[in-house]
Amino acid sequence: MKIVVCIKQVPDTKGGVKFNPDGTLDRAGMLAIMNPDDKAGLEAALRIKDETGAEVTVVTMGLPKADDVLREAMAMGADKAILVTDRVLGGADTWATSTTIAGALRNIDYDLIITGRQAIDGDTAQVGPQIAEHLGIPVISYAADIKVEGDSIIVKRQYEDRYHELKAKMPCLVTALSELNVPRYMTPGGIFDAYDKEVTVWGRKDLKDVDDGDIGLAGSPTKIAKASDKVRKGAGEKVVLDPTESVAYIMGKLKERHVI
């Protein structure tokens, strides 16, 4: 079995987000980490590897320094790593990114592709499902559990209040939630091995069946007007009332704020 895990190097937003004067993210000013949802996806793949001996390949698109997250993934146990990097790919939105990654994945064999649900820098949750669409394979998003059964996978798809158990025949793509598991630590020996291994580096010319008009900034239909950090909501007000009183209370509040 062959598993591909798509990972992304993201700025660590735990300590707040820093912006450049032009409104873009100040990536240099923030620590770079492996996106948490992607790390959970990698752990899920490594658990399948532990059970079945599957081969795990990690793929990332980014700047040359994204090599760090690929080494980290190999130090955790991934077998191979591919870095897709090229100046012409810069400034990509989700469409151009998914087109690029799909173009890279057309070069390799896979039974299962795992991506994180979303990256903590863009928070779109679009790239995973878009890759599946480009490759013409089924997608199950928001996986809280992944099991392999013969040539199929069984996934618990998480909703706010419940989950669906879905079965899909491979090849298919799954997007993972960081709640899926607690990722393992790298091992010291794994780190040493990771730096002795080769990372395959691909550029524009290595992408299969991809038009120039669908990559990089020029191929990105999304235009960002303004970016901002998440605004923390206040603690809110909690009231306990019976249903009739509740309706009156809510109506009063809505009128008070001129909502109705």
């Binding site: 790298m186 010291p188 780190i191 040493f192």
Partner: protein
Amino acid sequence: MDFSLDKKHEMARKLFNDFAETEVKPLAQEVDETERFPQETVDKMAKAGFMGIPVPKEYGGQGCDPLTYIMCVEELSKVCGTTGVIVSAHTSLCIDPILTYGTEEQKQKYVRPLATGEKLGAFALTEPGAGTDAQGAQTKAVLDGDEWVLNGSKCFITNGKVADVYIVIAITSITEDKKGRKKKNFSAFIVDKGAPGFSFGTKEKKMGIRGSSTYELIFEDCRIPKENILGPEGKGFPIAMHTLDGGRIGIAAQALGIAEGALDRAIAYTKERKQFGRSIAAQQNTQFKLADMAARIDAAQMLVYKAAIAKANQKVYSVEAAKAKLFAAETAMAVTTQVVQLFGGYGYIREYDVERMMRDAKITEIYEGTSEVQRMVISGALLK
């Protein structure tokens, strides 16, 4: 000459730091307060490969260099001196001598489970009447058929009772030199927990590193297989001394980590703590103290890393190890004492980490060769 770490060592430090902050730090105060051996942490370290970092992969280890192992002890000790010494005693004092002096059978049998962390190791040289004067030891081993029979006791043994494998130094013969002076000839042995006649005495109640399990070992007609002698008969003393050279680099790393951890807390605290209307970090007295501590810690780190690199590249590294341990231990004591002072009354309260760190620091000036012994080693080399 390049003082920067390469990428693999940088990533290893990040790993050890993440692990220490996530798994070790939350337990440090409780482990100290209750004098409890943190078995769950040891289990997690085994899984993460921390129990056999400088051991070749063919023996179940991680195949890394001594510097990586030293950085692990350093990072663990930043948050918990107890956890640092558990790894140090296990790796430097038990695995290392078996790797260096053991037969292939001994390496396969003992190093593999020790390096994977399935088993824990300890080292027993010190006796009630023989500390710095290790020649004063009384424990004896006599060959009886296919077995060595050990009698005597060892004290202050780190990882005592919780370890599975013990390196024990005992007298195997007494010879007379030309002048008729008696000389004890020591040998080293590998003793398994559960060997008949091997038991544990009292648990020591210590000032610091209180989660570390420190016991007396008792041998009463303890019988071990003949093949469990480590290295040639009569070579136990040089084996013990060489083992301690490596061990001292581990303790130096522990001391370095304690000093670094204390300084980190001092920086955070002095920025927050306000007196006379401004943070105490704004006072020049505080700034100068922080600067002195940072410079001294950097110097200690260079000596410790230099010794670790010497262990990788040289056959003999006694002087490098002695300098590293002497300077790092005295730095740990000086820095933690100063940090407690900066914390004022709060520094004396057990709720704050720095009180524990000052207690933990003291032992680094004593065990695996006191600071005075390190000075003897260094000056001995200067004056020979």
